[in-house]
């Protein structure tokens, strides 16, 4: 009996600790959202700078568990933005090297590392997550995993940052969420006073369909109907195409070690993919490694989207996000569907 009472008290304490820790965010998204976060299981594959930023934000938010997946080792360039891996971990597996600092961010979140190659992962593995974020993979691998996630109803994100330029693509299948719609009502006015209006929010349930990652593969940035949009937004979508083509063609990303040669290769792809585009030479200068502030922006955006999806609060952006480091504009494009 006595033990039982003690346990109960500890449980209450813990809840108080949680509400105190998450106080400032509960005041934004409410208790219900925080409870949903508490049950969410997230996979982050690709622990480069972007992976580290998303990991940090997601762990801080108080999800149930985060699985850090990577087969690569920590290299020198990781120290440009991958703050979870300590200096001493050079040459060690990036996911494992990130564990200690990731856990220190929030002891209430269950964090584990997985180092098995992604190609070997099947539906059984992906089914254990609510949200999957894949970083640094080829389009083929992204298509494969997205197809599995479609089948399972697991929310899928793909994202990357090259230097200061970044994107993510969201494949959320059928997603329902609650959104506050602001309305105004007149408040009973005192005699001789102006009419007063009061803002109030009405929660509205909404549902939206997201196309699969294949929609992006099928997308033609050169299509005549897209040119006006392209002019308005800038050449971010073209640049993303160039970089993904580079990855497919050379089985790697542009490297700072071969900076000038790789800029040449990028120009060649640009000439081939979008000969008359507004994609400037300058924007090819800042695509190397991952630059911390830009990664922080994209990592912040991706993490916020994952939080939206988990809490089912507010509309997730639909469905391709581009960050333009030149202007610091971050915008979404509807691709497909």
């Amino acid at each position: 009996m006595g033990v039982e009472v003690d346990n109960k008290e500890t449980a209450v304490e813990l809840t108080e600790a949680e509400t105190e820790l998450y106080d400032r965010q509960i005041r934004l998204w409410g208790l219900e959202s925080q409870k949903r976060l508490r049950t969410a299981k997230i996979l982050i594959s690709g622990l480069n700078g972007l992976g580290a930023e998303v990991t940090k934000n997601i762990i801080l938010s108080g999800v149930n568990s985060v699985t850090l997946h990577d087969i690569q080792v920590v290299t020198e360039e990781d120290f440009c933005s991958q703050f979870l891996a300590a200096r001493e971990s050079l040459g060690k597996n990036r996911a494992k090297a990130s564990l200690e600092r990731a856990r220190a961010l929030n002891p209430m979140v269950d964090i584990s590392a997985d180092t098995q190659p992604l190609e070997e992962k099947t539906a059984e593995f992906f089914a254990t997550f609510d949200v999957v974020l894949i970083i640094g993979q080829s389009n083929n691998e992204l298509l494969r995993i997205d197809a599995i996630c479609q089948e399972l109803g697991v929310k899928f994100f793909a994202g990357d940052v090259w230097g200061m330029f970044g994107f993510y693509f969201a494949s959320l299948q059928r997603h329902s969420y609650v959104e506050d719609v602001v309305k105004f009502k007149e408040v009973e006015a005192k005699p001789n006073q102006k009419a007063k209006f009061e803002k109030y929010a009405v929660p509205v349930q909404r549902e939206v369909n997201y196309p699969a990652y294949s929609a992006w593969i099928d997308f033609d940035a050169n299509a005549a109907g897209y040119q006006r949009q392209l002019k308005k937004d800038g050449p971010g979508v073209i640049l993303l195409g160039v970089l993904q083509k580079f990855r497919t063609a050379h089985k790697r990303d542009p490297s700072y070690k071969s900076r000038e040669a790789d800029i040449g290769l990028l120009k060649a792809i640009r000439a081939e993919l979008a000969p008359k585009s507004a994609l400037s030479d300058n924007s090819l200068e800042v695509l190397f490694s991952q630059i911390s502030p830009a990664v922080a922006v994209v990592g912040g955006v991706v993490a916020q989207e994952i939080i939206k999806v988990v809490t089912r609060m507010e509309a997730p952006h639909r469905n391709l996000f581009i960050f333009d480091p030149d202007t610091c504009a971050g915008y979404v494009q509807v691709i497909g569907g």
Partner: protein, 702 residues
Amino acid sequence: MAAAIDGVLPGTLQELVKKSKVLVVGAGGIGCEVLKNLVLSGFHDIEIIDLDTIDLSNLNRQFLFHREHVGKSKARVARESALSFNPDAKIIAHHDSVTASQYGVSFFQKFDVILSALDNRAARNHVNRMCLNADVPLIESGTSGYNGQVELIKRGLTQCYECTPKEKQRTFPGCTIRNTPSEPIHCIVWAKHLFNQLFGESVDDEDISPDAADPDAQGPPQQGDADAAAGGDGDGDAKKPTEAEEEDATNGNVVRINTRQWAKDCDYDAGQLFNKFFDEDINYLLKMSHLWTSRKPPVPVSWDTLVPEGTTDVQPEFARQHHKVWTVEECAHVFANALKELAAAFLKQEAEGETLSWDKDDQPAMDFVAACANVRSYIFNIERKSRFEIKSMAGNIIPAIATTNAITAGISVLRAFNVLQAKWEQCKAVYARLRPNARGQFLVPDASLAGPNPKCYVCALDPAITLRIDTKRVHMKELRDDVLIKTLNMLHPDVNMMGTATILLSSEEDETTENDSKLLHELNVVDGTILSCDDFHQNYNLSIIISHFNAERDDPLFEVVADAKQLQPTKEQPKKEIAEEETVKAKEERKRSTNGADDGPSTSKRSRPTEIEDDDDDDCLVIEEDNDEDVMIVATDSLSVESTPKTAIKRKPSEAMEEEEDITEILDSSDEEAAGPTKCKRSKIEPSDLKIDPLMEVINID
């Protein structure tokens, strides 16, 4: 450490990052993120300043801090954590206020760029002024919930932080708080005042008792009662023994001490106190029958009906349920328990000559306010709130999340890259939003760089304002504290009468103390007077043209007008019954667009796109704008500072400084033989030198 690896950054940027010296002001949500971005980018020479210590509620976003760091210096722990990301960086941490006198203009001048990540307007104003003076580019940032903002402030190129007026804190007329509350916030403010009456430092204008002089009441019910109550007598009827002792019922302080004394004399008996505040005082209010002709009258509650058996010592279960809306009975229990704890704490403090100060994170203090506010809400038929919600309102808590801070800090450091490369045109302000705009952007750059406001009372060449003020009711002390410090954001103002040598207010201790208690008109500060106000530390000089008016009761005693047109009596606008949602929406948009927010998006920009929440971490009273005509401080949407006719030629210290330096320069170059003395004069001219006529010095050197 991107800059440490060749080939990662373009060559010029790499060099600039390596050699630049950067100051980060604030080690909170944005500051932690900024510091991480800086060290990882390869900045070597960084200083960070923050006076705060780490709190548990910081840990959901200030990721350089962990549980074991709670209570420690933010600046120091942030430095340690950031060094683990890049041990090659050199970081100096200052656990200090950025407004402290050792961080003068010369301190700011050391840096190539300053990134500010502050959470309050006063410090932002100050850093703005220091950076303008030092002519160092400032990247100003702020967040509130999902919203974030980054903007460049550079002297002569962009608008400064104070170029656009910030919305005032929302305040309420005394009689709304004391007599006729109609919203939860009114009861919350009242409860905080009650706390201060009993346990806190006594503050003017914080009466909690019925106010019989309320013009709405149109005459007190009985002359005898009214006299006692007019002075803020909390007792409200003649039965109380304390009343007889009140020598001077017109002086609020005397009464306050007596209310406090009376509570002490009752031994803080929960029932007696409860009945006085929630039964007797309410009954007194009911006697002011005019108040209730157009309002629903309050319904007093008495202790015995709520807590028949008295309270228990054990903290009941519901007291910890912060998300539950307590019943009025539960409030009474919480009141009793909180009162007991607070009384004990107060008596302990009192013995050392101290008082309690209200803190939203102090459990009994917060319990007390939540319970009292809700009982009062119950009495006035106002919706009751959970303790959690009351804490938001009473403590002005601004929601904050890791992601918005990360995004905002990222943009801030990207802007720093542009600043170092002098790509000024690429430094347009950027706003982070929850929902995309029509163009699909939710990280939204401004279309152009906003230029300086030529009439800004801070960054204009020769700043001046008009001050509408009741010179027969405002004392010098209030001019200093409420106008110069709180409204015009000076730190240590000096005030001279323009055209005379009379020093009205000195920042030196005790130099003008005798003026503190004098009314302005007694010091010959009357309509048309021009005051020259200096803040030496901020290197700021402002002319204030006095425009006297006789303030009505409950009118604000002063208003910074600046726009001469506002001095004309305004014609009453034809009242329109606006019902269309659109109109109101537009109005709301406009309101939002001028909301300067502490801890929030830092400036009020004409183009702030959407949904900024009101917030302010200074003391109390925000939430939303009030349309009441009788607000204490009128919202100054229209404050655009107009240059005023210059009736006297004045000489700014900065001008004097420049001239002086010029003269020394000329001497240096033209008179090279004058070895000794010239060298001496080459040294930086100290402020005190400015008082010496520059010509005198020239002669001396020659």
